[in-house]
Symmetry: D3
Subunit: 272 residues, 6 copies
């Protein structure tokens, strides 16, 4: 596995920044330098960092790190779509979470980020007709990161999943670009029959903590779903839905709720 | 530990099917053949597969796989009630989740299925006056599968827990046969006093994602609890309850909601 | 690391009781005696028990138990504030959960208790300007215990987090003394800007299962938040709030909801 | 696996003594009490102690402790010949090594003792037509204990292998009862053809450090082989052989060299 | 890492035979099928089998299996010299050890074979100017297989190291093709100065158990060194040397001692 | 455990040099930077490096790295005698082995060096009346490094044990300063009675590969023992002994054989 630093670093600002942050962390917290070198600095590309990090976190006595790392490297190395989406996901995490002060933190720690990259591998493997290993990755990620994302779901780039515990994204769900969601969000199906049964989420949507979006419904671009809501019907673009079951309470105030991360809902807009 | 294939395979269609699915997976995904043989094909019975698989997943540096595997084998081998319920749980998972395409997937991967079998061991151990190890299993399963099921709860057969993250089932809770529930469902108590303080769930009930059923209340057979609901009072058989706090909004449309897995709630029935 | 039993045991009744409970467990469940000795009886203080136990649970191939144990011992040994709060947390867990029959169970098993002690270490480390390792502990605890508590949050003593899966406590959140909360509770922020953006929870508050408290709002002393509620505005002391979004439905019935653990909400008080 | 203490302890003085020594060690060295309970005190019989201890020492990522422990338990539990020989081996180690102050030390630590018990399992498995696993155990023991004993060799009881590093005992070798040998002793074959090609060692023989006994030759009862010797021809009973190649230098001075452990050779007997 | 079975199997009889032997083992010893698939059958080439097997055996908490496996795969995959020598080493082990009944046994178990392949990787890495990792492999192999082979030594193909414990081959040693040696053989240097200071061993030489060949001396083709000998001077081709210090005692009886594995030395040839 | 870099580095040239060598290795072999930081650079003193490195190498499922690291740190930190001897041992290894090109290699890799430091800990623990853990360390080191050194032996400083496999040093053995010995050297006792029964080795002695020194005999200062010799009687200072059994063959040629590492024996001096 060729894993040497390339002279493309000057055109890979995300990777260059992560390396710089890693060096600073190793310098300021000496007890972490072994960890930081092993996870970041001894690798030659961001793709290998993610592959090895996921492998170490997801390995167990039944399926070891070597095998997993090879699978992830297969999926990530030389995959242009992944190269773009992983960088967009890192930036999204950093931009939208004020508690995230470094790209490095997203890469090393954020369960939502890591579960999303595991999904990206599983999705790629599914398209290579390797359903068996794709399902393995899905379910192992669900144990380790507590976010259960089916490999057949379609998820865009620049997606941010904060905290991530309890997130479920079903088999026929679709998620657009630049979407943000919080922990305990469910994009669930309904019924025991197969077929297209999960939600379709537009671009720029914000789905707040614990919201359940159920069934083959459509959430329009830049919509906002309030925390704890249960959404069973379509939500138009640029509107806010809230409640159990959710009702439309008005227009969203800004252009892209997913970037504003404003979880408040304007009660004066309540049409109840 | 006798672990040889018996000539009862022809009368154990569940186990025979799982073996066949495992062989197919090993053949089609060569990189998984070590995993599939180690977890399934080298064992002589479904009971040993579950015992060893739980042990490997739940082992850590404080309590090793050998010890755990012996405990689970004690609980499962030669236990007719377990033999029946584990097969019913597998069938329930397969029948009710359209994303589940194989018995094997339920056995190897589903956190809800695995947490439920760990509970079945813990419950058996509790009845053997081995409370210490029963509590260990409960809490370790809560870490590993994120479903916290008290060993003293009573749970029937043919139970399906989908996704499972965040499920809590309390000490005096009872769950009938053929119940389905989703992730983040709580069957919780109320008050700091002991005694009978958790819900009693009838047969064939469907409890949708994130619903909280709290207190010593009774959910009648074939009732349906809507996603995100907070249920604080009895729900009659064959009715649907929804909301925070939940209200009865009408009759369920089919015979057994747990088998239909229809999470939609008919808004026209809303009595609000 | 000095880890010998001191003759202060007679003035440390919590530690003395835990040792006694551990001896009883080792005696009655012989298969657990190795576990009980390794985790409790071979250590010389409650602080070392917690340090070593957290280290073993949180260690992985990237960051080993030796390093982690040293970090936790640094944070806990000789730290009077920790000595007081960890004992108060143990008592709170035991007093308020009728399913908890021993101090030992809280220490060894309760994810909420363990995540809280990991937070206490991370918070101490942050104040030592060791932000790097503080973030590591936060995020590793989120993987292992599924409770994501930011090290900069301020949390009092005698806090009980039951079941714990899915709990999120944000960077500028404050939690008073003697608070109880259940699994899936979120003390979340709003907006992508930094600054003081998370809730302030008073003393003696009870936050029931799955409640989301969002934004820089104030929950007064001894308030009660109903299960599944989404709280977006201040809640006065000694009142009960419930619903999505939550509304005040009346006064709390007893002095300290966190100690009563009564999750029922009196519907007759509903002002809707 | 039934592993409970039996009331036969009063007729199993070796096991009773080991338990007593283990209790004393746990009491005097508190930091070892977890180890001592996990390896000895939580087991119900000497046989289970040996099975579990070998399994933990010999397990690796390719062949886990659960599987190995089952294999060893199969071989040891209820095997009367093993019950006798393991106790005789313990006594031999204790009686003949003045540095061995406890039966417990032999059981927990001595590489020669442990490699010998692994051989006893492999030999039993070979007779069960389980050649594959027998070879696995032989070779894994050679890695872990550095003593390579072919499962088809025949070895009596009361055998003591001191230090053990580098010991090799070939496929058709035979070793009588009450034999002692030191590290780096080889009972080797000659030639690339199969068949009976290894030494036959009588009862009570002492083979000193680094001696090589090569070919299908016979070492008579109570003979003594000097350190570093290379023995290529028969050695009569009750004689001492020494040198490269070894020559008979006289009679042994006592009844059983293996029990005297006197490695000196009387130069005055040298027939050179 | 491309690891798929190629259609070159028909021209790779060694690999084809190993796969067949592995399938038979998995079939006859069901408890080993997980092991056999994970180590052999799920890999696509003999080279990957060796790389992964060495990695798993040599990994520890400081240097994990993923990293090691990549290093070994770098060294082995597409390396024609290795492809030839590893197959010759397997055949040599099988042909010359009557206790070795399968190619598979050599590959999976023989410490000498595995240490030799680890050396081949280290030697290759040294020539890539990767001295650091070459030394790591040398020393880790010395711990795990107890054979300490310096990466700068030159070793031919078809080499068989039986039992292997205690073997040492120094920095400037050279070993020809088709050499056999046994455990505890040393090809050592002399003096604390660097430079060319180790033995040069010709083709077809047999070095019997525990022989020490010391200094920059030459052992001619097809010579035989008796067990336990200490060789300090040149040994001509086709002669036998024995003793401490070794003396020439005559001609070897057959063409290639390394293939005959006849460790006896004809005393009648003794020129003493 | 305080483990911060001190400003004493300028007076600790050994530690300063090791850090510098480690930095160079991390820079030139990027794939090893995680290893190098975790083992060396993230520690604050040479003593902690040795403690943690031994702990990681010697840990297993029965006795974990945290416990072991604490034990070693207890023995090493603030122990002036250890501080001196460990630095002398490093220098001895580097000075006398031409294949050793860095202090770092001795510290990280040399089995003889590591076994010797483990002995130094065990010896210290024995003097603290912690015989139980001292024996554990002895025997675990014998498994891991294949050098079995009794904790009650007395060993000076500046000792070099090359290759180390098979070394045995008995309970009442004494080894002076600046001694060198090679693999498979035995300083053994004789007889089954206790008491003073092992050799006393003077300063500056060289004991070559595989030599056995047996019984309570005295090897005088600066003596040399030839490879493969079996020494059963006293050897005067500054003389060379060789053979089985060993005879004095003359004076040593230089001042300190242990520093010359000249394993040749001048045959012209042979008195035979």
């Amino acid at each position: 596995m060729s894993d040497t630093a390339t002279n493309l670093d000057h055109v890979d600002p995300v990777w260059a920044r992560i390396q710089e942050e890693a060096r600073q962390l190793a310098d300021t917290e000496s007890g972490m330098s072994g960890f930081v070198h092993a996870t970041v600095l001894q690798h030659g590309s961001l793709e290998m960092v993610i592959a090895a990090h996921l492998a170490e976190k997801m390995a167990n006595s039944e399926f070891g790190a070597s095998n997993l790392c090879d699978v992830f490297a297969d999926a990530f190395i030389g995959n242009d779509a992944f190269a773009e989406s992983v960088r967009a996901d890192i930036a999204a995490t950093f931009d939208r979470d004020p508690a995230c002060r470094a790209y490095l933190d997203a890469v090393l720690y954020y369960k939502g980020f890591l579960a999303l990259q595991a999904y990206r591998a599983a999705n790629w493997l599914l398209h290579q007709n390797r359903r068996g290993i794709a399902l393995y990755i899905q379910n192992r990620a669900s144990e380790v990161f507590q976010a259960d994302i089916h490999p057949a779901a379609k998820i865009g780039r620049g997606v941010f999943i904060d905290h991530a515990t309890g997130v479920v994204i079903g088999e026929t769900a679709e998620v657009g670009n630049d979407v943000s969601m919080l922990h305990s969000v469910t994009l669930g199906g309904s019924g025991k029959e197969g077929g297209d049964r999960h939600p379709k989420i537009g671009n720029g949507v914000l789905i707040s903590v614990g919201a359940k979006v159920l069934g083959n419904i459509r959430i329009g671009d830049c919509a906002k779903i309030g925390g704890g809501s249960v959404v069973l019907t379509d939500v138009p673009a640029y509107t806010t839905a809230v409640g159990v079951p959710a009702k439309i309470i008005g227009k969203v105030s800004g252009p892209e709720p997913s970037r504003q991360m404003d979880h408040s809902v304007d009660q004066s807009d309540d049409d109840a």
